[in-house]
C-alpha cells in the first residue's frame, strides 16, 4: 500500500512505529503535487510544509505526538492563513496575504499538522463544478475530462488523487458533499455553528459551514475533533459541547431507522445513480436497519429559496471588496466611484457578479417582501419538514447529486448548473449536518450516498458511515494513474 492511499489513522500508526517520518511522507505528497495536472492547488506551501514536518518529527521523537501530528493535509483557499496567500479563488484576492489565521487554521496548527498548500475552489465558493475559479478549472482524478464538483473541488480532487491525506472544505449549498460524492471520498458538513466561521471568507453567512473531506468516516471524525468547538470570535458559533467524534464509531446500527424522502427519488435522478443508492440502502438493511419512506414536501423549493437567500447574503458580504483596504485595485482610478466600479468589475468573475446582482435586486426597496422575506419563510417550511421527518426516523438517506461528474465545459447556463444542487441545498437551509460517502460507481465514476441527520448528530452520522465502510470497500478505491 502506498503512502498516499493511507488514511490518517494508518499514517499516524506508521509515524509512531517509525515506518516513515513526517518529512518523508510530506516530501512524497509534495512530489506528487508537482507531477499532478489536476490543478487542485492554488498555492503550494512546500517550504512551510517541510518546516512543519521537521517540527512534527521532533515532537514524535519525544513521544508527545497526537493523532494528527505530522499528517500532510490540504487547506481550502477560503480559510485565512497568516502569511500565506488566501485568494478564495478570486482575482480580487490574488494579492491577499492574510494578516491573521482563521480559527480553523489556528486549531489545525495546534495539532501539529503539515499544511501542503491551499486548494483551488469556485470563486468565493460560488459554483458546483469548480469551473468558476480565477485559477482555472480542477480536473476529476477519476476522469480528467470531468468536473470534480464544487465549490471545494480542489480539496476533493486532492484527496481522491492522492495529493494530500485529507483536506478541509466549506459547504454553503453542498460544496463539501457534492465534490466528495463526485470524487468518491467522504465529506461531512456539520450542523450550522459547529465549526467557527471566523476567518473563513464569507459567502452566505447563515449557511456557511466548514468540515472535513477525507478518505474514511473514521478520518472525518478525527479531523472534526480538531475543527469543532465554540468560538467567541464567531457571533453564530454554538455554545454546544464537543464530544469525541471517534467514540461511537463502533456502535452497532442494528435497529436504525432510515428515512428515504420520496422527493429525492423523483424525476431528474439518473437511473444508475438511483440503483447504486438503493443497493447501499439494502446493505444497511442487511446490517439490521429498517427503511421507511418519508416526505419533505417543500424540498422542491430548496433551489429558488437558496438562490435568493444566498445571493442576498453574498451581495452584502462582498460589498467589503472595494479596492480600498486590501485586494485588487484597478489601475489609475479617475475618482472614487471609478475606483469602486472598476476594481469590483475587473476583480470579480461572472458568476460572482451575477449573484451579487440577484442579491442587490432581491433586497432592494419594493422587492424585499416578494423575494427575500418570502424565501426566508419558505426556508422555515423546509426546516419544519425535516423536524417532522426526524420524529419518525434516525437518519435520512438519498443521493448527493442527481448525476455523476459531468464533462468540463458542458453546462453553460447558470440555471441548469443550479438544478444540480437539488439534493444538498435543504440541509444548509435547515442548518442540519450532512455527509457524502462513497456508495459505488456508474460508468467508472463515483456515486455518493447522502446522509442527513438531526441537529448535532455528527457522531451518529459518522457511526453510520463507519459501519457502512466496514462492510463495503467503495471508499478504498483509488483512480487509476497513468
Amino acid at each position: 500500500m502506498s503512502i498516499h492511499t493511507k488514511t490518517i489513522a494508518q499514517l499516524a500508526q506508521g509515524l509512531k512505529d517509525k515506518d516513515f517520518s513526517s518529512v518523508e511522507i510530506t516530501q512524497h505528497y509534495l512530489d506528487r503535487i508537482k507531477q499532478s495536472d489536476l490543478n487542485a492547488f492554488i498555492t503550494v506551501t512546500d517550504e512551510l510544509a517541510m518546516t512543519q514536518a521537521q517540527a512534527a518529527d521532533e515532537k514524535i521523537a519525544t513521544g508527545n505526538a497526537g493523532i494528527l501530528t505530522g499528517i500532510p493535509y490540504a487547506h481550502k483557499d477560503i480559510f485565512c492563513t497568516q502569511g500565506v496567500k488566501t485568494s478564495a479563488g478570486s482575482k480580487m484576492l490574488d494579492n491577499f496575504i492574510s494578516p491573521y489565521d482563521a480559527t480553523v487554521s489556528h486549531q489545525l496548527n495546534q495539532t501539529d499538522l503539515v499544511m501542503l498548500g491551499k486548494t483551488n475552489m469556485d470563486e468565493f465558493a460560488m459554483g458546483s463544478s469548480n469551473e468558476n475559479s480565477f485559477y482555472g478549472a480542477v480536473k476529476n482524478p477519476w476522469d480528467k475530462s470531468k468536473i470534480p464538483g464544487g465549490s471545494s473541488g480542489g480539496s476533493a480532487a486532492s484527496v481522491a488523487g492522492g495529493l494530500s491525506c485529507f483536506a478541509t472544505g466549506t459547504d454553503t449549498g453542498g460544496s463539501i458533499r457534492q465534490p466528495a460524492s463526485l470524487c468518491g471520498i467522504t465529506g461531512l458538513k456539520p450542523t450550522y455553528g459547529r465549526v467557527s466561521r471566523y476567518g473563513m471568507i464569507a459567502y452566505a453567512s447563515s449557511l456557511d459551514q466548514a468540515g472535513p473531506m477525507t478518505k474514511t468516516a473514521e478520518d472525518a471524525a478525527i479531523v472534526l475533533n480538531a475543527m469543532a468547538g465554540f468560538d467567541e470570535k464567531d457571533s453564530t458559533s454554538a455554545e454546544q459541547e464537543v464530544p469525541d467524534y471517534t467514540a461511537n464509531l463502533n456502535d452497532s446500527i442494528k435497529g436504525l431507522t432510515i428515512g428515504l424522502p420520496k422527493e429525492f427519488f423523483s424525476d431528474g435522478l439518473d437511473d444508475e445513480v438511483a440503483t447504486q443508492i438503493m443497493s447501499a440502502v439494502k446493505e444497511f438493511e442487511a446490517m439490521g436497519a429498517t427503511v421507511k419512506e418519508v416526505s419533505l414536501p417543500n424540498s422542491a423549493y430548496a433551489i429558488p429559496t437558496y438562490y435568493i437567500v444566498a445571493p442576498c447574503e453574498c451581495s452584502s458580504n462582498l460589498s467589503r471588496m472595494d479596492g480600498v483596504r486590501y485586494g485588487y485595485r484597478c489601475e489609475n482610478p479617475k475618482d472614487l466611484e471609478d475606483l469602486y466600479l472598476r476594481s469590483r468589475s475587473e476583480g470579480f468573475g461572472e458568476e460572482v457578479k451575477r449573484r451579487i446582482m440577484i442579491g442587490a435586486y432581491a433586497l432592494s426597496a419594493g422587492y424585499y417582501d416578494a423575494y427575500y422575506l418570502k424565501a426566508q419563510k419558505t426556508r422555515h417550511l423546509i426546516s419544519d419538514d425535516f423536524k417532522k421527518a426526524f420524529k419518525e426516523v434516525d437518519v435520512i438517506m438519498g443521493p448527493v447529486s442527481p448525476t455523476t461528474a459531468f464533462d468540463l465545459g458542458s453546462v453553460k447556463d447558470p440555471v441548469s448548473m443550479y438544478l444540480a444542487d437539488i439534493y444538498t441545498l435543504s440541509a444548509n437551509l435547515a442548518g442540519l449536518p450532512g455527509m457524502s460517502i462513497p456508495a459505488g460507481f456508474s460508468k467508472k465514476l463515483p456515486v455518493g450516498l447522502q446522509l442527513i441527520g438531526d441537529y448535532w448528530s455528527e457522531s451518529k452520522l459518522l457511526n453510520i458511515a463507519h459501519q457502512f465502510q466496514l462492510q463495503t470497500d467503495w471508499h478504498a478505491q483509488s483512480p487509476q494513474e497513468n
Partner: protein, 95 residues
C-alpha cells in the same frame, strides 16, 4: 415580470459593478432566468409563517463593551493598495 437591460444596468450600478454591452445582454437573460426560478416561491402558502434568518433561531450573544483588539494598523495596512501616515488613500473626493 421581466427585467429590462436598463433595469439590469441600474442594479449593476447599485452593486457598484459596471457591465459591457455584451455582458449586459447576457446578464439580462441570466438574471431573468434566475428570477423566473424564484417565481416558484409565489405559489407557496406562507401565511402566518415566521421568516427564518438563522437555522438555530439563535439570538446574538452580547459581550462587555471593552477594547480587546490591539492596534494592528501597520500589519493591516501592509497589504493595502495605497496608504499614507495610517490613512487609506483613495482618489480625491473633495477638491
Amino acid at each position: 415580470m421581466s427585467l429590462s437591460e436598463g433595469q439590469v444596468s441600474q442594479i449593476a450600478y447599485l452593486a457598484r459593478l459596471s457591465l459591457s454591452n455584451e455582458a449586459l445582454k447576457d446578464n439580462t437573460k441570466d438574471l431573468n432566468a434566475i428570477l423566473g426560478l424564484a417565481e416558484q416561491l409565489g405559489s407557496i402558502d406562507t401565511d402566518g409563517i415566521e421568516p427564518m434568518a438563522h437555522p438555530l433561531h439563535m439570538t446574538q450573544r452580547l459581550r462587555a463593551d471593552v477594547v480587546t483588539e490591539k492596534d494592528h494598523s501597520d500589519l493591516f495596512q501592509s497589504i493595502a493598495p495605497k496608504t499614507d501616515n495610517k490613512h487609506y488613500l483613495v482618489p480625491t473626493v473633495i477638491e
